[in-house]
């Protein structure tokens, strides 16, 4: 009985230490574990020009402009508090549109505009049929992309 008890305590103590160590490591590296920065992060902690980074947020409403060459687009990525102008030329994901969550990969240029090499679409955690969304919009209970900027604004 006592040997079993000793093994039980050893396993529990081991797990506790391991959990604590992992928690400390993760919280120490938490700045590097994010997949992207929000436009507000970028304002608060400026990064060197020319460094590769990712910015995430929503495509600001009425900010999308198609250039005359047919493949270059300009838009602004916003988190509700601040926004960053982005230019990109290439294929866009199907989900890409104004009001949609996106993550753009690229570099800031000297003027503070973001030159994206890649545009990824991000969708929120809501799954519902089109009719339900339309009904919600009609009754005024729908908030566009509400789930995402909330989470990003905290960071």
């Amino acid at each position: 009985m006592t040997r079993k008890r000793r093994r039980l305590i050893a396993v529990l103590a081991g797990l506790g230490m391991l959990g604590l160590a992992t928690g400390l490591v993760l919280s120490a590296f938490s700045d590097n574990l994010v997949f992207f920065y929000s436009p507000t992060d970028l304002k608060e902690k400026p990064v060197p020009r020319g460094r590769e980074l990712r910015i995430g947020g929503l495509v600001e409403a009425a900010s999308l402009r198609h250039e005359s060459d047919g493949k270059t687009v300009e838009f602004r990525v916003t988190d509700g508090k601040s926004d960053v102008p982005v230019t990109y030329s290439g294929a866009l994901p199907d989900l890409f549109r104004e009001g949609q969550g996106v993550v753009v990969e690229g570099k800031l240029d000297a003027a503070g505009a973001f030159r994206a090499d890649t545009v990824l679409a991000k969708h929120d955690e809501r799954y519902m049929p089109r009719e339900v969304v339309e009904a919600l919009k009609k009754s005024g209970h729908w908030r566009e992309g509400e789930a995402q900027p909330e989470g990003q604004a905290q960071r």
Partner: protein
């Protein structure tokens, strides 16, 4: 717990349950796939591509659940030395690895369609890949020793160490910015998924779980029978050796 950890009792009990879980999992998976492909509505954002969810999400749930089970049975094996616990952990691990692989592959297909990329190194995707490697490492370690008992002990410790990854997988989407969206079903404030899509998903999840239970019982039964066979062969060899002994001594 001792009562169910008896191998003979387990053989009897599992023989009685097995046909039922097998039949029920086939029915539920058939119904679930029909509902997912033909009845569930297309999503407002993702359209028809959302149907990958019905395969991907239950695989992801099972990937974590099976790992939790491997870790729990490993702890029981380490602490109480139950004869069935090691067999349960070792039988469950390859199934869990299979669910994890299915989750990664379907997630990649889904990501290519919706996000515009097959793979990114965000916290959710990376931690699930780590889970897959933990499964593979566990399986390799258990089989790396000549003496099965030592392999089981080493594997059990690895399985327990890997437990820290489970909360990381679950909360990665809340703790850090990720490309992967946050949880839709198991979250504070209730699911953010329409009932017409939630039901087929839950039926699929139950079907997956019963499929896992069925396969786990089959694998555990096979492992127990193989151990019994090994013991019988060993006994036979020893008997033969014993019957040869007197002649050898007579000759020398």
């Amino acid at each position: 717990m001792h009562r169910f950890a008896n191998p003979a009792r387990f053989m009897r009990l599992s023989a009685a349950i097995l046909p039922w879980t097998a039949a029920l999992s086939v029915v539920l998976l058939g119904l679930g796939i029909y509902l997912a492909l033909f009845v569930a509505p297309p999503d407002y954002q993702q359209g028809e591509a959302v149907r990958i969810m019905y395969v991907h999400v239950p695989a992801a749930w099972l990937a974590s659940f099976v790992y939790a089970l491997v870790a729990l049975t490993s702890a029981i094996a380490l602490i109480w030395r139950h004869p069935l616990a090691d067999i349960a952990a070792q039988s469950a691990a390859p199934l869990g690895a299979g669910f994890t692989l299915l989750c990664l592959v379907t997630g990649s297909l889904w990501g290519a369609r919706m996000w515009g990329t097959w793979w990114v190194w965000d916290a959710r995707l990376t931690s699930v890949l780590v889970l897959f490697f933990l499964y593979l490492g566990y399986i390799a370690l258990v089989n790396a020793f000549d003496e099965p008992g030592r392999g089981a002990r080493a594997g059990a410790i690895l399985a327990l160490v890997g437990v820290v990854n489970l909360p990381i997988i679950k909360f990665s989407v809340d703790w850090w910015n990720t490309l992967h969206q946050p949880a839709s079903v198991f979250r504070l404030g209730g699911p953010t998924i329409a009932a017409a899509m939630l039901w087929p998903l839950l039926i699929m999840a139950l079907g997956y779980t019963l499929l896992f239970a069925t396969l786990l019982m089959v694998r555990m039964r096979t492992a127990l029978l193989a151990a019994k066979l090994r013991a019988l062969r060993l006994a036979e060899v020893e008997r033969e050796a014993a019957s040869l002994m007197p002649q050898q001594t007579a000759l020398s």
